[in-house]
């Protein structure tokens, strides 16, 4: 159409920009966000860094020697230069091309560095719960490859179903073979083990179980090193992991090395270690960076690959100073942490990439608004950006500068209206810039929610009036941090009829059971964290499956006086908008005092449905609508845990020909069951 090929009117563009400055709310990639979708990327920026990972992957995939199948790369960059951004690019490319498995380990979330091995095992399990390339989780991708290999070795012409097909049919096939008195998972495990004799049979078994919709989340829980209920352990025929934290940690290094070794046999693995530069330290006083790097070194010593393996690559990102210390203090370790050679320095922007960054951000904005700008960087001017780029700013600095530059250009647009109109305009505009993707970001939501509660405490006229019967007195961090591992977010403390209440808030928007379960356990542990009730903040349409451990936890939470509060875009949006207006109050020429008064008169805090729901007394009922699926059917009601381990050992060691032939026949049936 001729209309669409014409540029939009300048005034339409400027007023859209005036309403929402796209540079003011840049998508900062952090933590959880690594897994998210929306992502404006300047592909030319740091292409060398991301390409180097992929060329290293090619190299380890094709290497003839098993020693060359494990390698490591280091990226160095200052804060704000875009480390996490490049990591996300690598993660997305791995997912899009199905080239490999991505594991993300962030020291930022590691509360107790003395348990580093166990925490890293958790990170592996959680990372592999994320979606891989074929509509299934990364665990399932690996399981599918294992099963396919086993089926093909059984019968070369065996048809192997698609990943999604296998996952959909697995439970049915399992039940079918079980009715015939067979243990499908056991047979598959045995068949896989014939091909991978060195692999840990329990780990194989657990990975096969991840294919099950019913028991997959329990299997992942086991793979994360967590304890299983006795009955669950019996049903899965896995040892129940009855260990103390310290014991788990002690065995976790071996387990993680085994896991990575096994994963690498089927798919290339990129393990990324991020956020090393935190101030945390372990009990010996070693800083987080040292503890993490020590882990990387030990893993590179203990992960082993066969000559046919796809390889394991460890990518560590840190600030240049940290690397300098590593190099100067321990040259031997530095070779293991950066086997690929010298660390790759991430680039700052230059004149060209500053323009690219501006263009990419504006393009996204104009597309959403249905506008066509006269130039890709309109209304910014090329020579101004070129000059600015010469200073080689970091992307974070550049976005800030671009935001203020754009505001300068737009300052003519500001019409002189009353403060209350200015507020209304700013607030309404801010409401429209809410991105639904933000509902995936636990941390971001928690920050905004906490802002709301803190504002209530700050504003005199709101402070002393009870909301839903509760008068707030304080907002606190979750302590001890070492037990929390970043799962819960903060505590709201107040008075309710002369009784003090302390509500522990956990925003848990994950869509897999492992992370939600880990959060739930902390919501239930009111003693450790010192609150009177736990409050799960989670969208109700992110249903909890009845076969998750969280189903049980949810019931426990309710009976302990806690609740699950529904997180909706509608309720959180106003808090996002209000926080934005406070943050940019100078731009709107509004003082914080005035904003406080607007927030008060417009009831933006005291009447916010989410805040009210958190403070109101829990109804004490489980919301059935927020649950889905069936409860677990017990498989071995009569079995006894004490015989399990003997039983397992025997079943796994039985390797004689008769059993083998039988197992092959069973697999045949399984293949047929799947083919239906």
């Amino acid at each position: 159409m001729s209309v669409s090929s014409k540029a939009s009117s300048e005034s339409a563009i400027l007023s859209a920009l005036n309403a929402n400055n796209p540079f003011e709310r840049p998508p900062v990639v952090k933590g959880q966000n690594i897994w998210g979708e929306s992502f404006p990327d300047v592909l030319t920026l740091n292409a060398r860094a991301s390409d180097s990972v992929f060329s290293a992957l090619k190299k380890i995939q094709n290497a003839d020697s098993s020693l060359e199948k494990v390698t490591s790369i280091v990226f160095t960059a200052d804060r704000g230069v875009g480390k996490s951004h490049v990591i996300k690019r690598i993660r997305k490319r791995l997912q899009a091309t199905s080239e490999g498995i991505f594991v993300y380990a962030s020291a930022d979330k590691y509360g107790d560095l003395n348990l580093i091995n166990a925490l890293f095992q958790q990170s592996i399990a959680e990372s592999l719960e994320q979606q891989g390339g074929e509509g299934v989780t990364q665990w399932q991708e690996i399981a599918v490859l294992m099963v396919a290999e086993a089926l093909r070795s059984n019968k070369a012409s065996a048809t192997v179903p698609s990943a999604l097909g296998l996952v959909r049919k697995f439970d049915i096939a399992y039940q079918k073979t079980r009715a015939q008195g067979k243990d499908l998972v056991g047979d598959l495990t045995k068949a896989i083990r014939r091909l991978k004799p060195g692999a840990d049979p329990y780990i194989l078994r657990a990975i096969v179980w991840t294919l099950s919709e019913e028991r997959g989340s329990l299997a992942v829980k086991w793979l994360a090193g967590e304890q299983l209920e006795a009955q669950d352990a019996i049903d899965l025929r896995l040892p129940p992991n009855n260990k103390t934290e310290e014991e788990v940690n002690a065995s976790a290094l071996t387990v993680t090395a085994k896991l990575l070794s096994l994963l690498g046999e089927y798919k290339s693995v990129v393990v990324c270690f991020d956020e090393l530069d935190t101030i945390a330290a372990d009990k010996n006083g070693y800083p987080a960076a040292f503890v993490m790097l020590d882990l990387v070194k030990r893993l590179s010593d203990s992960v082993s690959q066969s000559t046919d393996a796809k390889g394991v690559l460890m990518l560590t990102v840190m600030i240049p100073n940290t690397w300098l210390h590593v190099e100067q203090q321990n040259a031997a370790a530095s070779e293991k942490i950066s086997a690929h050679g010298k660390p790759i320095d991430l680039e700052y922007l230059n004149s060209e990439t500053v323009k690219d960054l501006a263009a990419v951000t504006l393009k996204r904005f104009y597309r959403r608004k249905g506008l066509i700008p006269p130039t890709v960087i309109f209304p910014l001017e090329e020579d101004v950006l070129t000059t600015y780029g010469k200073g080689k700013p970091s992307p974070r600095e550049a976005l800030k500068w671009l935001a203020s530059k754009l505001n300068e250009i737009l300052s003519d647009q500001v019409t002189l209206v009353s403060p209350s109109e200015r507020f209304e305009q700013a607030y309404q505009n801010a409401l429209t810039q809410f991105d639904p993707d933000e509902l995936n970001d636990n941390d971001r939501i928690a920050v905004v929610l906490r802002f709301g509660f803190e504002k209530i405490l700050e504003i005199e006229r709101i402070k002393d009036k009870p909301i839903e019967g509760v008068t707030l007195t304080q907002i606190e961090d979750i302590a001890p941090k070492s037990k929390n591992n970043g799962r819960l977010n903060f505590k709201v403390i107040g008075q309710e009829n002369d009784e003090s209440v302390a509500i522990g808030i956990g925003v848990l928007q994950e869509t897999h059971g492992l992370s939600v379960g880990a959060g739930f356990r902390r919501l239930l542990d009111s003693k450790t964290f010192g609150f009177s009730r736990g409050c799960l903040v989670r969208s109700r349409d992110r249903k909890i499956k009845r076969n998750w451990d969280s189903f049980e936890y949810y019931q426990q939470l309710v009976s302990a006086g806690g609740e699950w509060v529904d997180l909706t875009a509608e309720d959180i949006k106003p808090l996002f908008a209000l926080q934005y207006v406070y943050e940019h109050h100078e731009k709107f020429d509004l003082s914080v005092r005035r904003l406080d008064s607007f927030a008060f008169t417009r009831n933006l805090l005291q009447e916010n449905a989410l805040i009210k729901e958190i403070l109101s007394r829990p109804e004490g009922t489980v919301v059935e609508d927020a649950l889905e699926g069936d409860e677990l059917q017990r498989l071995n009601e009569q079995a006894d845990l004490s015989t399990l381990e003997n039983d397992l050992a025997m079943a796994l060691s039985a390797d004689d020909d008769a059993v083998e032939a039988e197992a092959q026949a069973d697999l045949q049936e399984f293949a047929e069951a799947l083919a239906v």
Binding site: I319, P320, L324, Q328, N350, T387, K390, G391, W401
Partner: protein
């Protein structure tokens, strides 16, 4: 420990003490430490006319001659001049005022050729820097030397480069030209962790236009 007092040590200390006195000429009791080596050092200095001798109420009074200044500068530069025991505030304060007055003082170009200024820029002179080309050359060679000598792992603090080159160009030229060297892709200026940085180090760093302070140089 008199036995350790070398002629160089004795002479330099005498010269330093005399230099630091508020009032000259002064009688020898004001600036000559006790001990035989110092007495003979005083004689040598008088003989070589490093000190000018006058008379005041019948006593000998001394003042520092031009040659003595050079000798003092050279003596302080000489690596074999070192303290082997605790010294009092008088001497340390004298050193401090020397450092302050000479603005780190190490460019005493009329000294005996041992001043490190010769090895410092690679071009053998401490002449002022008038152009971007000269700056770029001098800055990069200063970078290389500091990086090598102090094992800085390719992260050389800007303030150290500035202090090495400081007396050869204005602060403003340093800032401008350093950014130009970066714009020409020869170096990258980096922020780094500034937690242990002192105010004066920060002051001697460089801020990029519209951005934050850069602390390190990394050669590309």
């Amino acid at each position: 420990m008199a036995s350790k007092v070398t002629p160089l040590y004795a002479e330099t200390r005498i010269l330093l003490n005399l230099w630091a006195l508020d009032k000259t000429p002064a009688s020898k009791s004001k600036f000559v430490p006790s001990g035989k080596p110092y007495a003979s050092a005083l004689d040598r200095l008088t003989e070589s006319e490093d000190l000018a001798v006058g008379k005041k109420r019948g006593n000998s009074v001394y003042s520092l001659a031009e040659e003595g200044m050079s000798k003092l500068a050279a003596g302080l530069q000489d690596e074999s001049f070192r303290f082997s025991t605790n010294i009092g505030p008088k001497t340390t304060n004298a050193l401090l005022s020397w450092l302050r007055e000479k603005n780190v003082g190490f460019s005493a170009s009329h000294s005996n050729g041992q001043a490190p200024s010769d090895s410092r820029d690679g071009n053998g002179s401490a002449a002022s820097i008038e152009s971007y080309e000269d700056f770029s050359k001098a800055a990069l060679s200063t970078y290389d030397r500091l990086n090598r000598d102090y094992n800085l792992g390719d992260l050389v603090p800007i303030y150290r480069i500035r202090r090495e080159m400081g007396d050869r160009l204005s602060r403003q030229n340093f800032n401008e030209w350093l950014l130009d060297v970066q714009a020409n892709d020869l170096i990258q200026l980096m922020g780094g962790e500034l937690s242990n940085v002192t105010a004066d180090q920060l002051e001697d760093s460089v801020a990029i236009p519209g951005g934050r302070t850069r602390f390190y140089v990394k050669r590309l």
